[in-house]
């Protein structure tokens, strides 16, 4: 009898699932902005690679989900020793690469021996420098031995750089990536797009829903919009302008998906050079700028004001956006204290990078706000290569503005040679403590303290967390609303009928 009821429930459940659940099949066409140089995130840091392939085709031991949490991928579970010096990963069994070969501990060992070798050409070997040894205990158990505890170890394993391909296969991955994800790479049509196809041997039952995915390189925003309206593509994967987003939100055929990114739009100040080597001047700038007005006026309400170098979607975030309330009187007083006034106004050059229109507009708006307290910012627009060599490498600038898109990148403030030229022994000490603390709870407290120290020192003017803006046809379901890491994740995307 029990079995009978169960059977009825099962049939009922299946019928329900068919009615309301995701529908299977079809091809999804997604516009991306640019073509990457290669298709292997371990060979180039171009974010376009991760956007198309992270988790869709290529996976690591762990991965980031839509909320930015670290969840299992090729490792079912893992365990760190109390000292955090050894980490044991238990691999999922029965996983196959897209070429049919089985995924085992040997592939993991090969991968991380390559990753930690700075001469191998692997991207970001510094993420793996604390790994002393990787060992395959048995085909499904891998043990990492670390030189010293590293609080970011797991996070680094979730990055696109940490994806795992078949052992010994390096060169081919650049153009014919083979992974373990829900989609199999089919073709890279140069200058046109990348085609993926559902991988029938994927280990998560029932996934993915789509049969085919076609990422198309559409560099021009107008062309993207026209292609979306003409039905050539289903989704503009990223970089929809706020103006377009507003228009599409009102159109019944389309919807706009928006959420957080890990991009801190930062008006960087050269802490090693006048006038911004004076903390009073840097604090005056903070009080003089109304970030809410910038979000409303320049970004049409998309984006979140921040007050330190961390994004609201990242772990251990403290909201410091109100640390320096908008207060022009206070800003004027601070400037006066630093020796600036109507007779001797604060003058500096504000360097804007040509390829980033919204950062440029924000820079112009900030300059206009600063002008209201008598500060004269001379705007200067430079080409990207010039920005890189002069500002980023040479720190030959006074103020600039750029989006820092790398997730979990607060560590750049521990490097006194970084272009902010922020030399704080206290921050360096805190960062080292954060990295070497095995207990996540205590490390998190340190991470919060680090954000406060940056705000107190007013190192930079952190303007906002850049919004993630994607636009798509109404029937596209299951699209990620956040970008905790660059990923146009299509694992659970389906086309509603």
């Amino acid at each position: 009898m029990k079995r009978g009821i169960f059977g009825v429930l099962l049939v009922f459940g299946m019928a329900l699932a068919q009615g309301a659940g995701p529908s299977r099949g079809g091809e999804l066409r997604v516009a991306v902005l640019a073509e990457p140089p290669v298709l292997d995130p371990t060979a180039s840091t171009s974010q376009e690679i991760a956007r198309m392939l992270y988790d869709n085709v290529l996976q690591g031991l762990v991965k980031l989900n839509e909320k930015g949490e670290i969840v299992p991928a090729l490792a079912e579970r893992w365990q760190g020793s109390p000292s955090s010096l050894t980490w044991t990963f238990y691999l999922r069994k029965g996983v196959r690469f897209h070429d049919g070969s089985p995924f085992t501990a040997e592939d993991v060992v090969f991968k991380f021996n390559r990753a930690r070798d700075p001469r191998s050409g692997h991207t970001h070997p510094e993420y793996y420098q604390d790994i002393q040894r990787v060992e395959a205990k048995d085909p499904y158990t891998v043990v990492f031995h670390l030189r010293q505890p590293n609080q970011d170890f797991l996070f680094n394993l979730a990055r696109p750089d940490s994806v795992i391909g078949p052992k010994g296969r390096v060169e081919e991955q650049k153009t014919q990536p083979i992974g373990t994800g829900p989609f199999r790479f089919v073709a890279w049509e140069r200058g046109v797009g990348v085609r993926l196809e559902r991988f029938l041997g994927y280990y998560e039952a029932g996934l993915p829903y789509l049969d085919r995915v076609y990422f198309r390189f559409l560099p021009d925003p107008n062309a993207q919009l026209a292609a979306l309206r003409a039905g050539d593509i289903h989704v503009i994967g990223l970089g929809v302008s706020p103006e377009t987003a507003l228009v599409l939100q009102r159109d019944p055929n389309f919807k706009v998906v928006t959420g957080f990114t890990t991009t801190e739009i930062t008006a960087g100040m050269n802490n090693g050079r006048p006038p911004f080597n004076d903390v009073r001047v840097r604090r005056a700038i903070q009080h003089a700028v109304d970030k809410k007005a910038l979000v409303e006026g320049v970004m049409l309400g998309f984006g979140t004001p921040i007050g330190s170098h961390r994004s609201p979607g990242e772990s251990c975030y403290v909201d410091l956006s109100g640390f320096y309330p908008y207060d022009p009187t206070r800003a004027r007083a601070l400037l006066q204290e630093a020796g600036y006034g109507p007779g001797n106004p604060l003058r500096f050059t504000f360097t804007l990078a040509a390829p980033y229109p919204y950062e440029r507009r924000l820079g112009e708006a900030i300059a206009a706000q600063l002008a209201q307290i008598g500060v004269q910012a001379r705007l200067e627009v430079v080409e990207w290569a010039t920005w890189l060599s002069r500002v980023f490498r040479g720190a030959d600038y006074q103020m600039t503005i750029i989006g820092h898109s790398e997730p979990n990148d607060i560590g750049i403030y521990a490097n006194p040679n970084y272009y902010f030229r922020y030399a704080s022994p206290r921050f360096r000490e805190l960062y080292a403590r954060y990295l070497r603390t095995p207990d996540p709870q205590r490390a998190c407290e340190t991470m919060k303290e680090m954000q406060r120290v940056l705000a107190q020192d007013a190192v930079n003017l952190w303007v906002m967390n850049a919004p993630y803006l994607a636009a798509m046809r109404k029937e596209v379901m299951g699209w990620w609303s956040n970008q905790p890491t660059p990923s146009l994740n299509v694992t659970r995307v389906y086309l509603a009928r």
Partner: protein, 311 residues
């Protein structure tokens, strides 16, 4: 004729060598480098050094230049730093599309410009309207014209695909994808050709032999087609040759608006990625095509005007 051709050929080689060497030198002056473009901003010095060695960028510029010239003698354009493929192969993939697009675009422009110019010259009332229209077309930026056509023919009247290129496997589909970009080019370029043709026709029409023809009682249409068109088309051919050479890589905007994988977008990528071998290969190919176009134009002159001689 033959010595003339030989002289032109020699000159062409010198031109090509000069163009290529200039690009090589200018690439050295540009800020930024290919390693950074591949590895990103935060790459460690070790990783940078390893990649530089792998790409052969650790050698002094002089050695690289000689290596490259020696490769050229073996018809080897080198390997693209960004794509890791032979430059010749990349050019081969992109050239047919660009060439076809330019031929279609310029052909369309000529088909539009010539009859309209004849109309304008024949009927002074039309002249004002047509000249106005052409001035309007010429002042429209290509990206705007392209987007307007895109909305008209792909979004509102969904007759043609909005963008992209399906490859040459199905020529019909390929042509359908090239029609809108070619129309954009044609409309933008027709204005230039129209003004050129109109001016040239008016000049020819003021000549004595035209007056003679009219005095003989030759019908006006015949005067235009038989006596005026041929001499008036000389400057037109020159412009066509120049435009053709320029548009092969100069159609960047049209390629971007319609997401076409042509030579223009390849050149832009090569420049952004500081892909020196690809950039040099592209300039060389461009220079070769422009030299070829110019030669063809010069040879066409003698067909159009028997007075032109090659010595």
């Amino acid at each position: 004729m033959i010595p003339y051709l030989l002289r032109r050929l020699l000159l062409a080689f010198v031109t090509l060598w000069l163009a290529a060497s200039l690009v090589f030198a200018f690439a050295l002056l540009l800020p930024g480098d290919p390693v950074q473009a591949i590895l990103g901003l935060e790459a460690s010095p070790e990783a940078r050094a390893a990649l530089e060695r792998a790409l052969g960028l650790d050698k002094p510029p002089g050695v690289r230049y000689l290596d490259w010239l020696l490769g050229l003698l073996r018809l080897d354009l080198g390997e693209s730093l960004r794509y890791g493929k032979p430059v010749a192969e990349l050019l081969g993939e992109r050239l047919p599309l660009s060439l076809f697009l330019v031929l279609l675009g310029l052909g369309g422009a000529l088909l539009l410009a010539l009859p309209l110019a004849l109309l304008a010259v024949r009927f002074p009332l039309w002249d004002l309207a047509l000249s106005g229209l052409m001035a309007f077309l010429q002042s429209l930026p290509t990206f705007f014209l392209g987007v307007v056509l895109l909305y008209l023919f792909a979004v509102h009247l969904p007759l043609l695909p909005a963008s992209g290129f399906p490859g040459w496997q199905s020529p019909g589909e390929a042509l359908r994808h090239l029609l809108l970009p070619a129309l954009t080019l044609a409309l933008a370029r027709a204005a230039v050709l129209f003004r050129m043709a109109r001016g040239s026709l008016l000049e020819v029409l003021s000549q004595d032999y035209i007056r003679t023809a009219r005095a003989k009682g030759v019908p006006e249409a015949w005067v235009l087609l038989k006596h005026a068109l041929r001499p008036a088309s000389l400057p037109l051919v020159t412009v066509l040759g120049l435009e053709g050479g320029f548009l092969l890589t100069g159609a960047v905007v049209v390629e971007a608006v319609f997401a076409l994988p042509g030579l223009g977008s390849l050149a832009l990528t090569a420049l952004e990625a500081r892909d020196y071998p690809l950039l040099q290969g592209l300039v060389l190919a461009m220079a070769a095509l422009i030299v070829l176009f110019n030669l063809l134009v010069d040879l066409l002159y003698s067909l159009l005007d028997p007075r032109v001689e090659y010595a």
